[in-house]
Symmetry: C2
Subunit: 281 residues, 2 copies
């Protein structure tokens, strides 16, 4: 059984002329499959559509995407009750040079993988994170999007090797916290929940959006704010979130320590009731 599919056929290779390989010219989504269904599907589709519009790539038909995803899950090498899927949209076959062949169709790839189940004590006791030295470039025209240009995350992630940390926070060049290498970050201070703006850099995670939407339905606001790394010592609670693991309390970042506080627990409880089963473990 295969991991990757394109046009419903198993694929192990892509054309060396594919522009995703040559220039990172494309987008991707990493989707949690829960009870055989893609969680937060509409948010993934909407982010992908926004990315396609920004990158001027034709957005694949949404029904086709869902059908092909289910076909990949049926054929794929994973227990699909609880797994993860990845969709890659490349701008397609390339000419030499940055200019696209305007006649080229986007190529869409569907990957199916076993999910990584995080230990229960991570949700109960929190995880250790670090500050990454790799900073994010600012004022990016692809800010917020999940493009295939991910060198900053690769470099930031490589700092974690041997650290034992669950995640690393990336800052902009001015030292403001933006997001994790694979997650978004939330801070609790004076009972207010704050998450950094992603207008200039970073990725707008679908779980971040789900948290903000769901909490607002419970009359809990999440403010978009600026938080300098030196302000971390003044926050009361920290949690990180992504599409796969849901919400995870943070218990330390370097020398700073936090409890798994009441606000984080309340957020996890609300999320557990709203489709993020991991938060209820």
């Amino acid at each position: 059984m295969a991991n990757w599919f394109c046009n419903n056929e198993p694929v192990e290779h892509v054309s060396i002329s594919d522009r995703a390989f040559q220039y990172g010219d494309g987008l991707f989504e990493t989707i949690a499959i829960r009870e055989h269904k893609p969680r937060l599907w509409e948010y993934h589709v909407q982010r992908l559509a926004k990315g396609c519009a920004r990158l001027r790539i034709s957005m694949p038909d949404e029904d086709d995407l869902l059908q092909n995803l289910h076909d990949a899950l049926r054929q794929g090498r994973a227990a699909t009750a609880y797994c993860m899927a990845k969709i890659i949209v490349s701008s397609g076959a390339g000419l030499r040079g940055y200019g696209r062949n305007v006649a080229a169709e986007p190529a869409v790839f569907f990957g199916v993988f076993e999910a990584t189940r995080q230990p229960q004590e991570f949700y109960r006791d929190g995880v250790n994170i670090v500050l990454c030295k790799t900073h994010l470039a600012t004022k990016s025209v692809t800010a917020g999007l999940k493009t295939l240009n991910r060198l900053e995350q690769v470099l930031a992630r490589s700092e974690l090797t041997d650290s034992g940390a669950f995640e690393g926070l990336t800052l902009d060049a001015d030292g403001n916290v933006i997001c994790g290498t694979m997650s978004n970050v939330f801070f609790v201070a004076n009972n207010k929940i704050i998450t950094p703006s992603l207008d200039d850099c970073g990725v707008e995670g679908v779980m971040r959006r789900h948290i903000m939407t769901t909490l607002s339905e419970h009359e809990l606001a999440v403010d978009i704010g600026t938080l300098h790394s030196t302000d971390l010592q003044d926050v009361d609670e920290v949690f990180v979130a992504n599409s796969q693991f849901g919400v995870m309390p943070v218990k330390s970042c370097g020398d700073l320590k936090w409890p798994v506080g009441g606000v984080t627990q309340k957020v996890m409880s609300i999320l557990a009731d709203n489709g993020v089963v991991e938060c209820g473990l």
Copy 2:
């Protein structure tokens, strides 16, 4: 005959797990082959080594690179007296997620293509360029490098479709001119030659380096400076440069017009005597 080679074998495909495809995790060089030899080879190797160091990818052995390049030229689908070659260094086969498999070896690919010969009148009369709306993110940790994360150049280049322009200048978000989509740019003002700093974004072209080094040997300084797009109206001459076409005078950018001036002609003449045959056409 093939265009692409890896380990001296023709290749048309790469593994879908290759991190260049998944994340743009790698570097490339585009090399002019002149009289069967790679022009400015040492500069290409030095930039690649700098990129490998910054990206923490093992730098391939320089002698192997040159040997494999010559093997690709011998086997490749191009008249190798005058063609172009592309070397792609990917961080290699991937795990899922941003973290690299530390045991993975870099994968190196060699492409051989016909050169694009620019019309003689471009060198004589100059070319038309435009200002791109796509701006470059600043304070990038990969500033100066030729990584496989090239979405900004792809988007900027796509603005040129139907414009008839030879090149587009990209600015940073503050409106400072940084470089072209596929070239570096030089301005002449009050008989001084200025080229933008690439410390925060942009690509340090090998031809830019060759120009600066060669001119300094002729006691002609090139200053690294800041030039806002609104200052373009005050410059006397403009030229662009890259590894393939050498130096090309610019005659217009939107409504602004410039002559092919004496400094540009002198630069072209010096370069023509220093291995850049295109400038002597």
